[in-house]
């Protein structure tokens, strides 16, 4: 009796095959897009028609339903990128590269949206577009880090090499982000009295929480859908490059 030593494919290894990944996740995209749209319709209906205006801020409180989910995503996407970076460095999982590359512009876009809606909200309520407050400042620096990562991806010709270098930078950034957050908080409490933000803000009534939660899930699912789509695009782009190279070498396709 011989020992069976043929390599076994786990689902994890199977997922590493781009073709398998495409085949497995392609049927997910349309349902995901459908659920996201439904959640957006529900959330926007709640936000515009079925939630009260704030007694102080009036209708501007509705900006919150876009602002808070995008601010959450700005950090969540970085976490997703850091996990993908670990996948690249530790397991050399080929799809971790793709996931890391797809997430960077999405994270930058969500962070920029959080900053933009924040300053649109800040103008009527605080009377200024920008305040050097701890949370805003660290979000701005996070945006710079995202843009740096996108620039780093674009600077490399060889995407496999780029993936490993970007992964190192992403992880170093992940270690640094809490330090930046801490130092900026220390700095902003030093420079100005904490009068704008209050940690013990008014507890939110349920009528505001329902649309917030719905929008929260809508935005998160939007990220998941766009991430999958971007990964598919990236896989196809890489396959195209390989095919072009082979064609240029004169191989039979």
């Amino acid at each position: 009796m011989s020992i069976d030593d043929t390599p076994k494919m786990s689902w994890w290894n199977r997922l590493a095959h781009p073709g398998q990944f495409l085949a497995w996740t392609r049927p997910l995209i349309w349902p995901l897009a459908g659920v996201t749209t439904a959640l957006y319709l529900l959330g926007l209906w709640f936000a515009f028609f079925n939630s009260p205006a704030d007694y102080q801020m009036g209708d501007t409180v509705r900006i919150m339903y876009v602002h808070v989910p995008t601010a959450w995503l700005s950090q969540f996407v970085y976490a997703a990128m850091a996990v993908s970076a670990l996948g690249t460095l530790v397991w050399r999982h080929p799809l971790a590269d793709v996931s890391m590359k797809a997430a960077a512009p999405l994270g930058a876009a969500f962070t920029a949206m959080a900053l933009f809606t924040g300053s649109m909200w800040g103008r009527p309520t605080w009377g200024t577009f920008w305040e050097w407050d701890g949370r805003m400042t660290s979000t701005l620096i996070l945006l710079f880090i995202y843009l740096g990562i996108v620039a780093l991806w674009r600077a490399f010709d060889d995407q496999l090499r780029a993936a490993r270098v970007v992964a190192v930078f992403t992880l170093v950034g992940a270690v640094n982000v809490p330090i930046i957050k801490f130092s900026v908080d220390w700095w902003s409490t030093l420079h100005q009295p904490a009068s704008v933000f209050r940690a013990d803000g008014p507890t939110m009534p349920g009528s505001l929480l329902t649309p917030l939660f719905v929008m929260f899930f809508a935005f998160t699912l939007l990220f998941v859908t766009l991430q999958l789509l971007a990964m598919h695009t990236e896989i196809r782009r890489r396959r195209l490059v390989t095919l072009e190279r082979r064609a240029a070498r004169g191989d039979t396709l």
Binding site: F144, I145, R161, V168, F169, I180, S183
Partner: protein
């Protein structure tokens, strides 16, 4: 250890003998500091109050400017490939280079800072706190800078990219560096900022050679 000292000695000799790069950096530092009064006006009180920030920004820019010569010449002439094949670990090479970078790009700036302090109307105690905070903080800038240079060394035109990547990571160094000088929060805050600055420097000096070595190894293969 002999390899470590060899790399250190080679880098020091190269930067002190070839073309006066060290003096160019010092000149850049002084010119950046001296150009600020033209932009904001010669009001002595205002200048004195923002002088620590000006000196820090000038040092920060000068150190970013010097990043490109950290690994790129070695890569162009093949030394980096030899380092990678050598017996000693890449992290050791990077650590030696970080120390050499600090000695040639940070220490001369600190030595030149009395001139800036004088023309920016700084008083004596503030100046000494500035020198102390620069001494404690610039090692962190050198360590982060070496990491940025290592990340971009494989890119042909990576010169501008390293400062863009590194500047956001250096924000804590600037915050605590200036916080250790400016008496905004009283002496208590200043001394705690000094301690944070020292902690940042020690941590980044200890960790960045490994991260930079990883980036070089994987970017080159």
């Amino acid at each position: 250890m002999s390899g470590f000292l060899g790399v250190l000695r080679r880098d020091l000799r190269l930067s002190f003998s070839g073309g006066g790069e060290v003096l160019t950096l010092v000149l850049f530092f002084i010119i950046v500091g001296a150009i600020v009064p033209f932009a904001i006006g010669p009001d002595r009180a205002l200048l004195a109050s923002i002088a620590p920030g000006i000196i820090w920004i000038a040092a920060f820019l000068a150190m970013l400017l010097g990043l490109d010569r950290l690994f790129r010449p070695d890569r162009d002439d093949g030394t980096l490939a030899l380092y990678r094949m050598a017996d000693m670990s890449m992290a050791g090479v990077v650590a030696a280079k970080v120390i050499a970078h600090w000695l040639t790009a940070a220490l001369p700036l600190i030595l030149a800072s009395p001139f800036l302090a004088m023309i920016l109307a700084m008083d004596g105690p503030t100046f000494w706190r500035t020198v102390l905070s620069l001494l404690l903080g610039t090692p962190a800038l050198a360590a982060f800078g070496a990491f940025g240079a290592a990340i971009t060394v494989a890119i042909r035109r990576g010169g501008l990219l390293a400062p863009i990547l590194i500047a956001p990571l250096c924000v804590p160094v600037l915050i605590f560096g200036v916080g250790a000088i400016a008496p905004l929060g009283g002496p208590d805050q200043a001394s705690s900022a000094m301690l944070f600055l020292a902690a940042l420097s020690l941590m980044s000096l200890a960790l960045s050679p490994f991260a930079a070595a990883l980036a070089i190894d994987w970017g080159e293969e």
